[in-house]
Every structure is written in structure tokens, then in C-alpha cells.
Amino acid sequence: MTAIIDVDHLSKTYDSGTKALDDVSLTIEEGEIIALLGPNGAGKTTLISTICGLVVPTGGTVRVGGHDIRTDWRAARKMIGLVPQEIAIELFETVMNTVRFTRGLYGQRPDDAYLEQVLRSLTLWDKRDSLIKELSGGMKRRVLIAKALAHRPRVLFLDEPTAGVDVALRREMWQVVRRLRQEGVTIILTTHYLEEAEEMADRIGVINHGQLLLVKPKAELMGEFGKKRLTIELYEPLDAIPPEITADRALDLSEDGRSLGYDYDTRAERTGIARLLADLSGAGIKVRDVSTKQSTLEEVFLDLVDEDEHAQEASEPMEKTA
């Protein structure tokens, strides 16, 4: 696979002083779907807007298909389609005309046959002559997607495509995205729904406070979520875990010595739970209760963001001492 987007040490500080992007580096492969996950204000829109040319970076470079977005902007922009977060669309225009308009902006000759195909795939063909103001919110969003596709971009940015959209429509949107991906379009979407990242993405990037905390293939992340944690409550507190029980297991003892934690992989052939319990009873350790908990993407995400918050706090100067 080859990199279609190369973001290198990108920074953006707005005039207001807000540091919305802090040294972000990211390589996006051709044909993948990457989800940028992060809470509101994390910098997702700023990142997308900078790559697309709406925001002027204060540092770093971006290349799209090898073309620098500042020096070779025309070539870079021709490859990109953007569906913005806010629905900004001309209301007194027909669906077909607005899509034709966008195609023109990208310097391409009219091709109504292709536009028909796009509108059909977004179930907008019947609405082609309707004024946009007559359409529902979900349809308006699909018109924005149609506009973004009007020039056959190789990379599509979807900024929170399903924010405020009902479940049925969300599923429909996912289908649209999958179909585009099959056609070879690289897709970058932002979301604050984990479910969405999980459902759609090949890779997931977590962003907070303008920093890209991690980027990992979803499968790898899911491997981490496939883990479960078994908590064993004990009748008698332990000072330490007897060596014959620790053996080669990943076991940990709580501070008060009253519970043992055991991480295991649900997908492994043997979880090792039965053997652990047998060993405990063999060592005379009485078990009061057991419980298990699955770590979700949500938790991993919150942990990451949480760690990040602490790091931020720690690095902030003490101002409230007075």
C-alpha cells in the first residue's frame, strides 16, 4: 500500500491563541478507512480543515498524493472531497444543479451520467429536481456527500457524518461509506461515536487536545478489547500472591490484599480460569466471589484521554496558588 496522505508535524494555533493541533504526524494509506476519534474540541475538524485548505497551518506540512497542499495546491485539492460537519448548503438550488456546480469548481467537464450514478447510489435520484430546502436533514447530508463526490475524488473526508442522525440513517450512511471504499476511495472520517469507529474503520486514530494519541489498526485495538478481566474476591486478605499460584500467570493483587485480578483473552482456547481456581483452592485460599469485566473500546479510549488530561494538568503551570 502507498501513502495517499502524509501529515508531517502539523500544528495550528488559532488567532485566539487556541492550540488546536499540536505536532500531528499521520500517514494514511490509499484505500483504507481511518476514523479519527476524539471528544468535542479535540481538534478533529481543524485537522481535516487544514488538510483540505480551509485552515492555514502554523507549522508542518501536508502532502496529498505526493502534492504539497501549499505549493502544489491545485493537484492536491483535485484529489480531495470534503463533507463538512455543519450542513452548509444553498437552499434555493436543485439537487442536480448544486452537484453540477461542484463538479465545475473542480475544473471538470459536465458528466451527468456519472452524476446520475452518484445520486442513485445515495438514493437522491428521485429528488434531483427538488429544491434543497424541501429535503430532510438526512437527505441534505447526502447531498453534501454527492457534492463531495462530484469530481471523483480519491480521498473523501467525512466530518462527523452521523452526528445528530437517527440509527436507521446512520446504518445507511455506513453502507454508503463501505460502497465507496469498495470503489477504492480512501476515507477519513471523524466521529465521537466509538461504535462508528468500530463498525467502519480499518484504523483508528485517537485525538485529544490537538494531539494524536495513537493510531492503530482496528484489529489490533480489538485484540486489546477481546481481553477480559476476572476479579476474585478473597475471604482472607493476602500479603502476597504465593509463588506456586503466580506461576506464569498475569495476576495482580489489590492494595488491601482482598482481591486478585486476572487478565485473559476470551478468544484463546484455554482461558486458564478453571486451573487458576483449582490452584487457589489447592493452596487453601478461599474465594468469596468472582466477577468478570470486558474492556471496551470506550474504556480504552477514556483511559487514553484520561491519561492525557493528567499529563496536561501536570504540564500546566500552577496558576491557582494565590
Binding site: Y14, D15, S49, C52, G53, L54, V55, V56, W73, R74, A75, R77, K78, I80, L82, P84, E86, A88, I89, E90, F92, N97, R100, F101, T102, R103, G104, L105, Y106, G107, Q108, R109, K147
Partner: protein
């Protein structure tokens, strides 16, 4: 050059004009008629002729200029302000369209609309006065250059404006007074010497005067000066627009 983009923007702007065709046409025709009735009949009754031209005919170039200036500024400023206001400008900003192409599309459409309306006024005025145009080619050249210059100005106003009030303020406070004091309805030579000198500081005077020369072969100021003035204005405004787009001022964060 990204010509399809120029064409897309241009056609998009022209379509708005045609969608509201009655409105676009009716109001200038009605106001011209009113000007003829009020100025032509009332003042024309007292002033038989100015510089040998019947007063009714004398005000035609002024009326056309008045309209071209107002319409150019209004069309172009609204044309670019509206997508900024509605947020749809993002589409242009992320597209492979350079400042010159964006400006050509918007300014071209704004200027053409203003020219069409001015020609409509000319056609209407033939119902009221009898006249022949001395230099028709220069008349069109002046009309086009003025429309372009003021559409560029309107375009900048639209880029600069942050709200509807700002959008209206310059046309209202600056352009309209300049036009009314620019000799649309009188000749600068009719003023007392002091005021004649003051009037000559008004750039619009040169436009009206040059335009009137194209009609009647008489002018308050040398025609060459008028042409150079418009050409300089176009150059300066183009440079300003280029700067705005290249720095992203009020367009990009």
C-alpha cells in the same frame, strides 16, 4: 486556468438574476421612468439645455452610471457575502480554484448584470428623449470598465463585511453620495468655481463625464483622464483581491 470553475460560478450568479427576472428588470425601469418624470419634467422645464444638450438627454448617461455603480457594488458584494454568510463558501475554498478564477466568476456576473440593467435604462430612455450616441464603442467600453471596476469594489466589500450592516454601509455612506455628487444630473461647469474644484476630487465625476462624452462628445474633464482613472482603479482592486485570497484574510482561519 480553471475555466469550468469560472463558468460554474458565473452561471450560478447569472441564474439568480434570471430567477428573479421581473424584479431585476422592473425596478430599474420604474426608477428610470420616475427620474425622467421628476428630473426631466420638473427641472427640464427650467433648464432647457446643458451644454447644448436637452436636459432629458443630458441625464441619461448619469442615470446609467448611477445604476451601474449601485448595481455592480450591490451584486458583487452580495454575491460573495452570501456564501460566506451561509457557510457554502467552504466549497470554493477547498476546490482547486485560484483567486483570479473566483473573482472572474463573481465579478464577471455582477458586472454583466449591471450592464444589462444599464442598457435596459438606455432602451427605456429612448421612449422619453430623442438622442443619438456619438461614440457607441467608447460608450460600451466605458460601461464595461466601470461595471468591472465597481464590481471589484463590491467584491472586496463582500469579502470584508462580517454582517449585513457592514455590507450595506459603504454603498450607502460612500458610493451613493459620490454618485449623486458626481455630476449625474448636472455638469460640474454649472457649479461655482470653488465647488467645481471640490467636485473634481470625486472620482465618479470622471466616470460620468467620460461616459457623457461618449454620448454627446462634450466633457467636463479630459476623456483620457477618465479612462486612466478607471484602469488604475481596476488594477488596484485586483491587487487587493489577490492579497485577500493569498493571505486568506476573512476567508481562511
Amino acid at each position: 486556468m480553471n475555466w469550468p470553475a469560472v463558468q460554474a460560478i458565473f452561471m450560478h450568479e447569472m441564474m439568480r438574476f434570471f430567477r428573479t427576472l421581473t424584479q431585476s428588470i422592473a425596478s430599474p425601469v420604474i426608477s428610470t421612468t420616475l427620474y425622467f418624470v421628476v428630473f426631466g419634467a420638473a427641472i427640464g422645464g427650467r433648464i432647457q439645455s446643458v451644454e447644448g444638450i436637452s436636459y432629458g438627454a443630458f441625464i441619461v448617461p448619469g442615470l446609467m452610471m448611477l445604476t451601474v455603480l449601485q448595481q455592480s457594488v450591490a451584486n458583487a458584494s452580495f454575491g460573495i457575502y452570501f456564501p460566506k454568510f451561509a457557510g457554502t463558501i467552504y466549497e470554493i475554498l477547498v476546490s482547486p480554484t485560484a483567486w483570479l478564477e473566483v473573482a472572474l466568476g463573481y465579478v464577471g456576473a455582477a458586472a454583466l448584470k449591471a450592464i444589462l440593467v444599464a442598457l435596459l435604462i438606455l432602451a427605456t430612455s429612448f421612449f422619453f428623449v430623442d438622442m443619438t450616441i456619438a461614440h457607441p464603442v467608447w460608450m460600451i467600453a466605458f460601461l464595461v470598465m466601470t461595471a468591472v471596476a465597481f464590481s471589484l469594489l463590491g467584491f472586496i466589500i463582500g469579502l470584508w463585511a462580517k454582517n449585513f450592516e457592514q455590507l450595506q454601509i459603504i454603498p450607502m455612506m460612500v458610493i451613493t453620495p459620490l454618485v449623486f455628487l458626481g455630476g449625474a444630473f448636472y455638469s460640474a461647469s454649472m457649479l461655482p468655481p470653488f465647488w467645481e474644484q471640490v467636485a473634481k476630487l470625486n472620482p465618479v465625476l470622471y466616470l460620468v463625464s467620460g461616459f457623457r462624452w461618449a454620448f454627446f462628445d462634450v466633457a467636463d474633464v479630459p476623456i483620457g483622464v477618465s479612462l486612466v482613472a478607471v484602469a488604475i482603479m481596476i488594477g488596484v482592486l485586483m491587487a487587493a483581491i489577490r492579497w485577500i485570497f493569498l493571505t486568506g484574510w476573512r476567508l481562511r482561519e
